[in-house]
């Protein structure tokens, strides 16, 4: 079902954990719907993500996506990291099953939220209202 790369990142996830004095924290998803990811970032004086860590509640794909996003983002500038799209994450993982693609959305979104959180703290961006989004056709309904 999963590519070897997904299985590798699931079995040996990179950058698991939190950062105590994180410069930005971003949370995406909802345990009611399935997956939830929290990303923590440290940003250096050259606007580079010097450290990226994550915590994830979710399936194999969600954990692998979190791990891959953290790897892709680490060392990049804010501007470069903002360009990490769900498609790029899925590609780096050698693909995701169709019904798991939403996991790569969550990963990219959670990272972006952490970056936004940092930029807002810096006064470089206006805070945006919290909202809980769904993929088309998905819902939190459970029956």
């Amino acid at each position: 079902m999963y590519s070897e790369k997904v299985m590798d990142h699931f079995s040996n996830p990179r950058n698991v954990g939190g950062i105590k004095d994180a410069d930005g924290i971003g949370e995406e998803g909802n345990p009611v719907c399935g997956d939830m990811m929290t990303f923590y970032i440290k940003v250096d004086d050259k606007d580079r993500l010097s450290d990226v860590k994550f915590k994830t509640f979710g399936c194999g794909a969600a954990i692998a996506v979190s791990s891959m996003v953290s790897e892709m983002a680490k060392g990049k500038t804010i501007e470069e990291a903002q360009k990490i799209t769900p498609e790029l994450v899925a590609k780096e993982l050698d693909g995701l099953p169709k019904n798991k693609f939403h996991c790569s959305n969550l990963g990219a979104q959670a990272l972006n939220k952490a970056i936004d959180n940092y930029l807002v703290k810096q006064g470089r961006k206006e805070p945006s209202p919290e909202k809980h989004e769904h993929e088309e056709g998905e819902s939190c309904e459970t029956n």
Binding site: C33, F57, C59, G60, I63
Partner: protein
């Protein structure tokens, strides 16, 4: 690495005696049971012998058995066929909120055809609320379908008591016994039902073999129009090897039921006790006593089922989960949510289902590998993080 298969609710291995019984019907005895010649006679005799064995397993009569391709087909035939046959009396159907999709979705289809469906709730253990069922029955209720046991959480319903309620009305009473027939004693007279679905694969028979028992005199409209097969109630050439396999598996299940139940219950209780005492925040789902002998189902808080399933698989252990991530609908198990479990806890469901080949050593192996898996996943869980922070704060 040790290989431990604990997914018998999904599929059991074929018993060697069953395979042996089936083999001649793939090659030597290949006639069509409907043919009027020697080749046909051999196949027909085998089908009828199996019909008798399957009927014996549930205390029915051979002519009351309709062979189908699966439990799903049997359930579809029951819901659609019985409802259509009764529709001049009314169009109201009652089902429980934890029915298998083959009942629930067949009922949905009937709803689109103008029938009205009422879902009867269950309590936290998955037991149908009989008072609510009694209150929901109306003059135009024609069909009540309540499963005998739930394959996911293992809860066994008090079908006998439910049938006493249904019997006071003119409604036909069907039970989905796919999880129980061949596993625990099932007797249609004791249960007081009018129709009962079953399948061979939960009791070491082949996949692709099922049956609907319909009490003599109860009309059912066929799903498949065809020839005179199955008394005109299910068209299509019979799958003779599968039917023979189901018959043999039924015969063995009847013979060995007591010892099978003892073996499975022992392993089930060992696993339940070990996991509950060995890991914090593990919830046993289903009824604490009235549960299938093979079923040990849990929700592990703060982590997600598929991740546990995959990590167990890496350790050679095969199990199931009702988490959203393992379902194409991306929704948590409707059974667990109907039992009142919050979705985020239902996401962490794990179903261990023991089989005849399972051993105490298998269970001990699971009890050894599970705690580090749970610990590892909780270390990366933001929900567990929040729980710990709240605990500290509180």
């Amino acid at each position: 690495m040790r290989q431990v298969y604990l997914d018998n609710a999904a599929a059991t291995p074929l018993l060697p005696e069953v395979l042996e019984a089936m083999l001649p019907y793939f090659s030597k005895i290949y006639g069509n049971p409907q043919s009027i010649h020697g080749w046909g006679d051999g196949a027909r005799d085998a089908v009828e012998e199996s019909r008798g064995k399957v009927a014996d397993l549930i205390g029915g009569q051979p002519e009351e058995i309709i062979f189908t391709s699966s439990g799903t087909e049997a359930n579809n035939l029951a819901i659609k066929g019985l409802a259509q046959a009764q529709q001049t009396k009314g169009k109201h159907i009652l089902i429980s909120s934890i029915e298998h999709f083959s009942v629930a979705n067949a009922a949905k289809t009937m709803e689109k055809r103008g029938f009205e469906i009422t879902h009867i709730p269950v309590d936290k253990h998955g037991l149908v609320d009989i008072d609510k069922l009694a209150a929901a029955i109306r003059n135009d209720t024609i069909l009540v379908s309540i499963m005998h046991a739930n394959g996911e959480v293992g809860t066994i319903q008090d079908i006998k008591r439910i049938s006493q309620v249904v019997k006071k009305t003119g409604a036909v009473f069907h039970t989905d016994a796919v999880a129980t027939a061949g596993t625990i004693p099932v007797n249609v007279a004791d249960l007081g039902v009018d129709a009962l679905s079953m399948a061979a694969n939960p009791f070491y028979g082949p996949k692709g073999a099922g049956a609907l028992w319909v009490r003599k005199g109860t009309r059912v409209i066929p799903l498949l129009d065809g020839g005179v097969q199955e008394g005109g109630r299910r068209g299509g050439t019979e799958d003779v090897p599968a039917i023979v396999g189901m018959g043999k598996a039924a015969e063995l299940a009847r013979r060995d039921m007591k010892s099978r139940i003892e073996h499975l219950s022992f392993l089930r209780d060992r696993l339940i006790k070990g996991l509950i005492s060995g890991i914090d925040h593990v919830i046993l789902t289903g009824h604490p006593q009235n549960r299938l002998p093979c079923n040990a189902s849990f929700c592990v808080e703060f982590i997600e089922g598929e991740s546990m399933l995959m990590m167990l698989s890496a350790k050679g252990v095969a199990v199931s989960s009702g988490s959203a991530c393992t379902s194409r609908a991306l929704k948590a198990s409707h059974v667990l949510t109907a039992m009142g479990l919050p979705p985020e806890i239902a996401q962490g469901s794990l179903l261990f289902s023991m089989g005849l080949e399972s051993t105490p050593e298998d269970i001990d192996y699971v009890l050894e590998v599970m705690p580090p898996i749970v610990e590892r996943l909780r270390q990366m869980s933001p929900l567990y993080d929040k729980f710990l922070k709240e605990k500290k704060g509180g």
